[in-house]
Symmetry: C2
Subunit: 212 residues, 2 copies
DNA sequence: TGATGTGAACCCATTCACAGCC
DNA sequence: GGCTGTGAATGGGTTCACATCA
């Protein structure tokens, strides 16, 4: 998140900022910002703040973003196509080494400027292009099998967009993005908000509102 | 996450499960599962476990998922189109009340079975269809202005897919999904894994591997 | 016996508060 | 004076351990 905010500041031309300012932008405590950044080293200047460009560079280096990471996308359905077309990945240093599917009506088609290949070719591409990150964008039913294939092919990390929890061998990292789940969380807030509104109306007094 | 796992179990036909089993599936501690579920009430049976269907219903009710939530999608680019086409939202009770854009080349087109409308019509749709959740899928430059419009239209919660942090008035909830950011986190793991592999090779001994 | 529900203990991220430095 | 960097204090989420009950 800090990195994203810093990128925005660079675009604006800002060159210096204090932990206070960064904290306000990130919506966190200033002490937390300083503590977090202190784990990277002492890159601030007392009395002045942090140099935006330098700090950005240090965070990128720590995250391993100083070189390109090739990724593969498994699943060329709605979501897979969107992710392949989505410029945000390549913009931030993740090149798409291949898009894969098992559906013969999809294989051979072009998505995001690349031809869709059959999942059987996964291993070959992962190994020849040194891919270590895979994106899972299959339907739920196919997700576990696709994950198995990714692991067997040698991928070490999986970003799972499928609406199921997958299991992987120890040592493989998984992050799951549950798109509908995010909406569910918001619906919870909205339900609380609605309940509060009702309570307020009944009491005639002010009521607290749920906030993220 | 519990809900998602439970949905999978229902599909499998599982009817009972213990906190131990659920914990294993969720990758957490069994005590945590029991503590979490205890906040909903005492819906387990000592010596037996939890009834999958009943527990699912209780979680859904708590999250406010016992009725449909209409949502609007702002931004009909790659990501917006994908989200509109993505079946996962409607499947889980989020109907798409409208897709909006400011680009005249997109307005009037059809996405996800619905016509794309101009952002100027946002307020009208939000109010007539009682929409309280908005999905932001615009480019970064347009995100803040689109968020302002969502808030003005009366939306109370925003799911932000734009690659920037937006600010909203107090009382409005925002959740941000940073797609590339997720990959960045994985790239960090991979960098560590690579560093460990090098260290192991140098030492000739076993090395620890980073895991999520 | 076996698994839940929960007070108490624990642990670690967050915050405070201030010394240290520009 | 102003802001960083960090030891110490805090607070709350997580885990333990066991009373409780089917």
């Amino acid at each position: 998140m800090y990195l994203q905010i810093l990128n925005g500041l660079i675009a604006d031309g800002t060159e210096q900022l204090s932990s206070d300012q960064l904290a306000a932008l990130a919506g966190v405590n200033a002490a937390k910002v300083r503590k977090d950044l202190s784990y990277l080293g002492s890159y601030g200047t007392r009395g002045v703040g942090y140099d935006v460009n330098f700090l950005t560079y240090q965070i990128q280096r720590e995250l391993g973003l100083n070189h390109d990471w090739p990724i593969v996308i498994v699943g060329a359905g709605n979501l897979g196509q969107a992710l392949a077309n989505y410029g945000g990945f390549t913009e931030r240093g993740f090149s798409i080494a291949g898009v894969f599917d098992t559906d013969s009506s999809k294989v051979g088609g072009v998505v995001g400027g690349a031809r869709v290949r059959h999942l059987d070719d996964l291993s070959q591409v992962v190994q020849s292009k040194n891919v270590s990150i895979g994106v899972l964008a299959t339907p739920g039913e196919a997700a576990q099998e696709a994950a198995n294939r990714l692991v067997r092919a040698g991928v070490g990390s999986i970003l799972n967009f499928a609406p199921v929890v997958i299991s992987v061998p120890r040592g493989v990292s998984v992050r799951r993005v549950d798109l509908a789940g995010e909406l569910q969380i918001l619906s919870y807030y909205e339900q609380r908000r609605a309940a509060n509104a009702v309570a307020r109306e009944a009491a005639g007094g002010p009521a607290r509102v749920v906030s993220a």
